[in-house]
Assembly symmetry: C2
Homo-oligomer: 635 residues x 2
Amino acid sequence: MILSALATSVGLNLALTVLLVAAYSLLRRRPPYVEVYAPRRPFAPLEPWLAAAWRRSEEDIHAAAGLDGVVFVRIFVFSIRVFAAAAVLGLGVLLPVNFFGDQLREIDFGDLPNKSIDLFSISNVQDGSNKLWLHFSAVYIITGITCYLLYHEYKYISGKRLDYFMTSKPLPQHFTVLVRAIPVSDGVSVGDAVDKFFREYHSSTYLSHTVVHQTGKLRRLLNDADNIWTKLTNLNARRSSGEPSRKFLGLFGRNDLLGMYQKRLEDLEENVRMEQSDATRRQEIPAAFVSFRSRYGAANAIYIRQSDNPTEWQTEHAPDPHDVYWPFFSTSFMERWIAKFVVFVASVLLILVFLLVVAFVQGLTYLEQLEQWLPFLRNILELAVVSQLVTGYLPSVILHFLSSYVPSIMKLFSTMQGFVSVSGIERSACNKMLRFTIWTVFFANVLTGSALRQFEIFFDPKEIPSKLAVLVPAQASFFIAYVVTSWTSITSELTQTAALFCNLLGKCATCCKRDGSKSPSMPYHSEIPRILLFGLLGLAYFIVAPLILPFVLVYYCLGYFIFRNQLFNVYVPKYDTGGKFWPIVHSTTIFSLVVLHIIAIGVFGLKKLPLAASLLLPLPVLTLLFNEFCRNRFW
Amino acid sequence: MILSALATSVGLNLALTVLLVAAYSLLRRRPPYVEVYAPRRPFAPLEPWLAAAWRRSEEDIHAAAGLDGVVFVRIFVFSIRVFAAAAVLGLGVLLPVNFFGDQLREIDFGDLPNKSIDLFSISNVQDGSNKLWLHFSAVYIITGITCYLLYHEYKYISGKRLDYFMTSKPLPQHFTVLVRAIPVSDGVSVGDAVDKFFREYHSSTYLSHTVVHQTGKLRRLLNDADNIWTKLTNLNARRSSGEPSRKFLGLFGRNDLLGMYQKRLEDLEENVRMEQSDATRRQEIPAAFVSFRSRYGAANAIYIRQSDNPTEWQTEHAPDPHDVYWPFFSTSFMERWIAKFVVFVASVLLILVFLLVVAFVQGLTYLEQLEQWLPFLRNILELAVVSQLVTGYLPSVILHFLSSYVPSIMKLFSTMQGFVSVSGIERSACNKMLRFTIWTVFFANVLTGSALRQFEIFFDPKEIPSKLAVLVPAQASFFIAYVVTSWTSITSELTQTAALFCNLLGKCATCCKRDGSKSPSMPYHSEIPRILLFGLLGLAYFIVAPLILPFVLVYYCLGYFIFRNQLFNVYVPKYDTGGKFWPIVHSTTIFSLVVLHIIAIGVFGLKKLPLAASLLLPLPVLTLLFNEFCRNRFW
């Protein structure tokens, strides 16, 4: 990519970003859009959103979005700090050194726009030059800064977490333990078995228990009732607004429909009542919520193994009542264990399938190939603007679009693993998404080639640094463009494009209209991996192409303001894990640092400075030791 | 190695074994040897030891050697079962198939003694032959049998372990928790801090505490007193036996010595009393034994995290009073953590140093090289008997001899890690020894070449199976000889050669005589890795050279009888971990199975049966899943 193409991309995205922000600022208070842009606070006084987002304190965020919201915002704070330092180092030291190196060619200042951005990368520094020691020091300095900030942040968040537990009101889940895999002998009900067990072993603290029942049928009936009720309300709403009656094929009028729905609702009510009253019709599941007299009693039951067979009487924290996910209470230890393995295999397969798609997208950056595939496009593609658009923009858009469907699949996978809380599912999905994102976006684009050939690099670990040192710089333009494009995508979070469309469509097709009173919840499991990816990109390209750093910094600054706004106005917390998402952020940053070290070792090897490469070897070891220390200190 | 050399080696070792057993049977009841051969039961009635060892029940062993002794014997029972099955498969199916293959040359039955033992190895089966499917099935069958036995054994031992806890009398350590890393603010003593903390958080179960003190000086004084007392006793014994008085350089007579010792003993007594009485002179260590009213209270304190900072108020099971190892109570969390890392590096370095030695030993199997190094030996080495001795016997002897010094070094390393119990130190040393033994004996001899070049194979994981498939069969003769030699070494356990020498020497130099009443304790940390090594050898060579299997089986049978005898007559249990050594045995067996699978995959690849190689791929995965399952089910 040449400098002018980059400038085009930056200009385009900046314009789009400003446009989206302007559109949001204008539209957010218009009546039809309020339920998209501020479903949480539709009647709040109007104030400039940017200033409001800036002004709000962390206590406000905690009150509005829970500790998870605070942790989410801290990801941005932490990243801004890291990349501010990185950008100062990168733009102040590394970029000039790279630019005034003369490995690639003599500099002609007259024709800057047509220079390749490779001039700003480490490739332009002469092999074996002593200037490379500046890069070497930069790696040590940025690792030190990042680790210091990681430690500081972890300490801060674990402090917050303690406060959270100290100050929270006594809640039912603090006194309750979920017991699964209860062994039941014939003729004894689950309830009796639980009662006997806890009366015997926890006599002083045991209070009561609730056995979980198979309620699939009841849930289906209630769902049906809910659907019919929505339809009825819509029909009534239309009638009161005086729409002409429409007859389906001239046969059924609205009144027939009304009557029919009412009849079915009455039937359902009857069934539900029968189902609810007749406890014997519901099957007991070998799982129960057991309540204790004190939090300490509950903690005892959780942390001390209850049975000589660890696969029975498994205890865990009871989830919040509104966080419970019911379908998987009946799974046995063995089933969950097998499901875990199957899901692992499935998520690896998903990555492989996705890589096939990425391989196609990657082809788009090579215009010649595209012209070969689609010859009729040749005339259009030869226009300068179009070619810059296609190489600089289209691949990223396609990637962004496709990636948006993966989180729900990953969530489905996590669901199948047998978690009993939505927060557990989303945390597990977050981990899966992280692996997916890092693999399909970073490694797939760096390694290129077919999916199976990509894995080959890991069969030859000795060669990883030198291979990455060749492959990573080659994709610098793609990733700079990717980061720049992401400005638009993070701003479209502000304008809620998808929800907006859905809302506008909903106005026409009333039957699928979303319930106005229900605000969406924050999809941490898809947002956190996406945000962390840019941290990985920024650190991986830190010494190779420091030009990427300011763009990453801008991304995080945008995200900081936008998400502070969204957490207040749009998303309602569905659960509060008490900041359990931070360890994911921590370990991902450690991973990014180690990737940086491996690339740096490879680069110094290629640049004929083997001493620097050897002196870098202790750095990943120290970083991993630091990680181990933090794990011991904080988890 | 040709068959006659193997026969020589087997004959020699069998003769030595029989000789040693005979010597033992004759000598064990002679008065001067009783304190070496039966220090535990010097006055027990005389009975044939082999029959007695066979007759004793597991309850007897439990009573005599604790649950650790039972676990130790179960290693032999388990191994005998595995290798009985393996030997049936190997000798009944694989060996004939190998022998009647004709890859290597036509068989000439007339000259069997001069045949290479390669004829019995898989190398002799023709490439791509369908007979290899027998080997393929054998791998699956032996894996199935081993896993079944592993499960069965683990279940049996965890049952025993439960019984052990159920039936044991209430002991002080069951009610006591060791608390380390107690944070102390200025002006508050450790005792007060502990008291305040446990009165606050464990008010209903807390009983009392004992703060640990720095007693280095006291311990030194007591040691001195002990030494002087021993010298005095010896002097008195000599005087009573009427030895003539010897004067040192004619200056000091015995009476001077006697008086001097008595004077010093009195001084010491004074010092000890002063040190004991004056508690202020002993520095408090931020560690304490905290006792609770119930075992349940103690369990609470151990399993529930006590502090918001996990590096403070660390609790663990208090060791048995006679199992405590005092010197490392004062180490902080950070020191232990660094020590762990340093010890890891040190034990890797030890392996590297040892490998240099092995490289030399390995050279001995190539006579030509030895002749080159030591030309004056040429004449001797050309004798047939000597050459067979040197190639078949000497390397193993040197290896056995050198290895005998390593356990104490590993124990020293483990000591430095800051364990507070001897059993903890020995279990950690056992793990270290295991890694050391597997690496220096198995891998070093298989991979050959310089130490650093050996590690290179792991940088190229894709090539591991095919490389091992070439290298492992090449060392078959060495390892068969190694197993055969080990018969003597395990029998010399019976004759206690080292202790015997020490005892005989002790009779002359009375001052270093060992205390007759003190029986040695079982060195589990050096014996278990040695025994498990033969399991690895047997499984690794299962399809490659099934000839090794009967020799391994004989080894385990010998060990079964010998150690059953020794646990009764010689070793006194120093501690009882309650069978905590079994997980080490379990995971090592899993490791051996995976090594077998990797070698088998490589062999089928080399033998041009790629389908079999691919069909073996699920086997290591399933084995590791089985291991994971057992970990969940039993630990």
